[in-house]
Amino acid sequence: MKKLAVFLFAALLGATAQAAEYKIDTKGAHAFIQFRIKHLGYSWLYGRFDDFDGSFYYDDKAPEKSSVNVNIDVTSLNSNHAERDKHLRSADFLDTAKFPSATFKSTGFEPQGDGMAKLTGELTLRGVTKPITIDVTNIGGGKDPWGGYRQGFTGTAEFELKDFGIDYNLGPASQKVEMILDIEGIKI
C-alpha cells in the first residue's frame, strides 16, 4: 500500500521526481556481484556470483530512504577455474552444500553528498549474519531507450573471511575480501 501510494504520488508529479522501487537487472546482466582477494599478497584474484536477484528503493529527492535487498546463489561462484571454484564451494570456504544462499538486507543509507553514501545492512553468508557497510556511489539514472527507467550504483565493501567462519589459511595477505558491487535497477 505504501509503495503504491509512493508510486501514485510519483506518477502525479510526473516523470521527473523518481521515488520508486527498482528491480535489479540480472535478466539483462547489468548487475555484478564480484569479489577480489589478494593472491599471496602479489596480485588480486577476482571472482563473481553469476546468479542473484534483488530490488531496491531509491528516491533521488530523499536518498536517505533508500533500501536494498539481494539474494545470492552462492553455488554460482565463478572465478574462471573449475578446480578452484570447487574448492571455494567446499567446506574449506563457503560450504555451499550447507549454505547455498547469501542475503543482504539494508538497514540504513547515509548520503555523503555528490551521489555518495554509506549503505549499512546485514550480510548473511555461510550461515553467519553480520553488519557490513558498503560505500555506494550513484552513477546515474534516467530513461532508457526502450521505455524504461533505470538507476545505477557502484559500491565496495570489505570484510575478514574469518568474520563469516572461513578459517582456511590463504596467508597473511589474504585475510580480507573486497566486494565490488555494480547494480542497475529497472523501475517497476
Binding site: E83, D85, K86, N169, G171
Partner: protein, 207 residues
C-alpha cells in the same frame, strides 16, 4: 610364459597389467585423499593434483588397453571346486571394478575440464576438454568421483580378501594364477582330465 591367457593360466600381459595397475590405483586413492587436506602453503598443494591428474590419464589409457585385451583373452576358468555362485560373484565383482574404474576416471576428467581447461600429463601431452559447461559440473563430477572411489576401495578389499580366502582356506590355485605361478600339484589333480580332443588341443597350444 605365454603373453596370452589360456583356459588355465593368465598370460604375462594380464599379470603385468594387474600388478602394475593395482598398486597404482590404490596409490591414486591415497593420493586423492591426502592431497585434499594439504594446506595452501604446502609444496604438494599444486604437485599433488598435477600428479593425480597425470597418472589418472595414463591409467585411463592402460584401462582401455586392458579391457580390449580382456575382450580378446577371456580369463582362465574358475578353480574346479569353486561353487557356481562364487564364480558368478567373482565375475560380477571384476566387472564392477572395471566399470567403477572407468566411471571414476571419466568423472575425474570432468572435474578438471569443467571450465574448458585441458589436463596436462607431465608436460608430455595434454588431453583437451570435451563435455563442459554443465551447471556446477565440477561439483557434481567431484561428488561422483569421491563416492565411486570409496565404493571401488570397498570392492578392492573384498576382491583381495576373496583371493586370500581361496589361497589359505580353499587352498586352490586362484591366487597363484594371477601371480603367474604354476598351480599347486594338489589342486591341479582336481582338474578334470581332458575329456574331449578339443580341450586337449587348447591346453597344448597354450604351453
Amino acid at each position: 610364459m605365454s603373453a596370452r591367457n589360456s583356459d588355465r593360466h593368465y598370460g604375462w600381459v594380464a599379470i603385468v597389467l594387474h600388478w602394475f595397475m593395482a598398486p597404482a590405483i590404490i596409490g591414486m586413492f591415497a593420493l586423492g585423499w591426502w592431497m585434499r587436506q594439504l594446506s595452501y602453503y604446502d609444496p604438494w598443494y599444486r604437485q599433488g593434483p598435477e600428479l593425480h591428474k597425470g597418472i589418472g590419464i595414463l591409467l585411463l589409457a592402460l584401462l582401455v588397453f586392458r579391457l580390449l585385451w580382456k575382450w580378446l583373452n577371456p580369463a582362465p576358468a574358475a578353480e574346479p571346486r569353486t561353487p557356481r555362485w562364487q564364480a558368478l560373484a567373482a565375475r560380477a565383482a571384476h566387472g564392477a571394478i572395471y566399470l567403477l574404474l572407468l566411471a571414476i576416471m571419466i568423472s575425474g576428467y570432468l572435474i578438471s575440464t569443467a571450465d574448458g581447461r585441458a589436463i596436462e600429463v607431465f608436460g608430455w601431452f595434454s588431453v583437451p576438454a570435451t563435455i563442459q559447461g554443465i551447471a556446477n559440473q565440477e561439483d557434481i563430477a567431484g561428488e561422483i568421483h569421491e563416492i565411486l572411489a570409496w565404493t571401488l576401495m570397498a570392492l578392492v578389499a573384498l576382491h583381495a580378501l576373496a583371493a586370500l580366502k581361496h589361497h589359505f582356506i580353499d587352498r586352490d590355485g586362484t591366487l597363484r594364477k594371477i601371480l603367474g605361478l604354476h598351480p599347486k600339484s594338489v589342486s591341479s589333480d582336481n582338474y578334470p582330465q581332458p575329456k574331449a580332443t578339443l580341450t586337449s588341443a587348447t591346453t597344448t597350444t597354450s604351453k
